[in-house]
């Protein structure tokens, strides 16, 4: 067991290195200095307490979308709809926050709950279609993404129109934001918010559900082999729906941490790319909750540092997204890396064996 975990870590690290190399190559081709570029990229993400706070705030929704994709993966489902789920979850949270005036703690709890339900409902439909009609969840979740996009596009201007712009909702009152003054001050005025704590709780909770509960066992069993899980008497259809709903709820809360934590309003006409980045986060973290946490932090650095890099050099900020996309490609083709790792291992152990063989020969003399 331990060796397989190590192997996953090695493959992940190699993917990251290859992705960074591809980014360096692009910087070189476009006439920039990659060392300078990466220096500013990482300094932009980490150089002072405010930027570290921003990196954590950027990573927070990624932890949720990463967990969402990873959780569905464990049950053999591909949730490519995290973007739509977080958008709809974010809308539900924003709607509650703008409509009700309650004590802060209750209001925030209600907003998070609304985001969970919204995201969960959005994933319930593809989950149900998969379980009942065997409709492929990839296509169904893509359709749900665009339905979500257009629902937000018309709902926000109709009911929650901003004061200045048609394209965004009103700003949330301070009481309805996940940002807290003490936290903002602690991190020198950064975007960091309570969402990070929710993310940590979610990581631990999902780790427990997957590895310490019967539900987690059943979900994983359905993912490994649907038919043997059925033969063992598990209700696979129910588990498929449940798994999608939990994945959707995670993405929904991720949407809340983005729209009511990182930002203070919801914009229309944008399908958040964080849902797709979640696929990268899950892959790089080999679908394990702790792995998701670490890889989301890494992507958080890339995302929050790219603006600084762009300001200090002439490298466009899209380099961050390009690196992330390249990392997914390398993670998808990890077979190649695995072969390479195995070849190196075989060579090393071959050398060891030869040494061992030569020892008794010498001793015999």
């Amino acid at each position: 067991m331990k060796t397989t975990v190590n192997k996953q870590v090695i493959i992940g690290l190699i993917s990251v290195v290859l992705g960074l190399l591809a980014g360096a190559l692009l910087m070189l081709i476009t006439g920039n200095n990659p060392f300078e570029g990466y220096n500013y990229l990482f300094r932009g993400g980490l150089m002072n307490i405010e930027r570290i706070g921003n990196t954590l705030a950027t990573a927070t929704p990624l932890i949720f979308t990463g967990l969402s994709v990873a959780f569905a993966f464990k049950t053999g489902l591909f949730n490519i709809g995290a973007s739509g789920q977080m958008l709809f979850g974010g809308l539900c949270a924003t709607a509650v926050g703008l409509s009700f005036d309650m004590p802060r703690f209750i209001l925030l709890a209600a907003m998070i709950l609304a985001a969970m339900i919204g995201g969960g409902l959005w994933a319930l439909i593809p989950g149900f279609l998969k379980a009942r009609f065997n409709v492929h969840e990839v296509v169904a979740t893509i359709m749900m993404n665009w339905i979500s996009y257009w629902v937000i596009y018309y709902t926000v201007p109709a009911f929650f129109k901003g004061e200045f712009l048609e394209t965004e909702s009103r700003n949330l009152p301070a009481a309805a934001s996940l940002k807290a003054p003490w936290l903002t001050n602690l991190f020198d005025g950064s975007f960091i918010n309570y969402g990070l704590f929710l993310a940590v709780i979610a990581v631990i909770l999902i780790e427990i559900i997957l590895n310490r509960t019967i539900l987690g066992f059943e979900l994983k069993a359905a993912g490994y082999n649907r038919f043997s899980a059925e033969y063992a008497g598990m209700n696979v259809n129910r588990n498929i729906i449940l798994s999608m709903v939990i994945a959707g709820a995670l993405a929904g809360v991720g949407g809340a941490t983005f729209y009511i934590g990182y930002a203070s309003n919801i914009q229309i006409g944008v399908l958040p790319s964080l849902g797709f980045d979640g696929i990268a986060v899950a892959l790089l973290g080999s679908n394990a909750p702790y792995g998701v946490f670490i890889s989301a932090l890494f992507f958080g650095i890339l995302h929050s540092g790219k603006g600084f890099m762009n300001a200090m050099t002439s490298i466009p900020p899209e380099i961050g997204d390009t690196i992330i996309a390249t990392i997914i490609y390398f993670a998808a083709t990890s077979v190649l890396i695995e072969k390479g790792v195995n070849a190196v291992k075989a060579k090393l152990s071959g050398m060891k064996n030869k040494e061992q063989e030569s020892v008794p020969a010498e001793g015999g003399r």
């Binding site: 591909f78 596009y153 018309y154 399908l271 466009p316 390009t322 997914i328 998808a332």
Partner: protein, 315 residues
């Protein structure tokens, strides 16, 4: 009512063409057994490379620049699709993940390069294709007004490709092999067909066609590359399913989506449609796709081995 329909028909046709050719590309890929969810990204690549070539050549070679752009888009689409082909055919990678990576790389990389070139990340072209009335045919009553007026040359090119593709898929040896590789790759292999080569051709055709689709958007109704094709690649994927993996089915599905989207776009200007909430019109294609998925779930015509890696040694 007639006035409205005859007015929006040319727009619906212009909107259908890129969707149709991209979906057709997806058909070749899936028929060969490789699911290509990266159509969206390949369209972006096509839109980008044609914008680049056209904006470069238009000042010096105004007549041919657009056609050069279309060729460049197909070439770039093929090159980029090789990434997906290599991952899914040689490395047995998860095809959905590889396709997602293609989408993300395309979106980020093209804007990255465009920003290096133009600063803003958008690329304008001076002019696109001009609309024309097809001689003789456009004077036929009713049909002439609907189908042969105010058309683009690219639309006719794409329709030509559709009918050639239909012939190739169903009436040629290559088409038979293509379908065999998507349904029963091991049987095809036993019959002496090189499954790897056929699948490579399928994926490369999807790259070429999706690239052409992206370019067709640019030279007809958009005129500007901005780093996205607004989900048309995914709609093309939906059309493929809605059309049940048949060329004429795809034609019907994409025209349905093209028409529905055009209706949604003009609904505010047409009193008869303004009463319908726009959100219903905009989400209509996606909801219909979900319903179609349910209806076809029992009798799906999907290639049986689509998405499954083929391993020569494993029987």
């Amino acid at each position: 009512m007639w006035a409205i329909i005859s007015q929006i028909f040319p727009y619906a046709m212009a909107f259908t063409a890129p969707l149709l050719i991209t979906s057709l590309g997806g058909l070749f890929s899936e028929k060969s057994g490789v699911v290509n969810i990266g159509l969206e990204g390949l369209m972006v690549i096509g839109s980008f490379s044609s914008a680049l070539v056209i904006s470069t050549f238009q000042p010096i070679y105004p007549e041919g620049a657009i056609w050069l752009g279309l060729i460049a888009a197909m070439a770039a689409g093929i090159l980029f699709s090789l990434l997906h082909a290599f991952a899914s055919i040689n490395l047995n990678a998860n095809q959905v993940i590889s396709g997602t990576a293609i989408n993300m790389i395309a979106g980020a990389l093209t804007v990255f390069i465009a920003r290096n070139l133009t600063g803003s990340g958008n690329i304008h072209i001076m002019s696109g294709l001009t609309r024309f009335n097809v001689p003789l045919l456009s004077s036929i009553p009713v049909i002439g007004k609907l189908f042969f007026s105010q058309t683009y040359m690219s639309t006719w090119l794409i329709l030509l490709i559709l009918f050639v593709s239909r012939f190739v898929i169903y009436k040629t040896a290559f088409g038979l092999r293509l379908r065999a590789c998507g349904d029963h790759p091991h049987a095809a292999d036993a019959a002496g067909v090189n499954v790897y080569v056929i699948r490579y051709i399928g994926v490369m055709l999807s790259g070429a066609f999706a690239g052409l689709g992206g370019a067709a958007i640019l030279v007809t109704y958009s005129g500007e590359f901005n780093g996205s094709v607004a989900g048309l690649g995914f709609l093309a994927l939906a059309s493929l399913i809605f059309g049940q993996w048949k060329p004429l089915g795809i034609l019907g599905a994409t025209f349905f989506f093209g028409f529905a989207t055009t209706v949604a776009n003009v609904s505010q200007a047409v009193p008869a449609l303004a009463a319908i909430p726009p959100v219903l019109l905009k989400t209509f294609p996606y909801i219909v796709t979900l319903i179609a998925l349910i209806i076809f779930s029992k009798s799906s015509q999907a290639p049986k081995a689509a998405g499954e890696p083929f391993d020569h040694g494993k029987k």
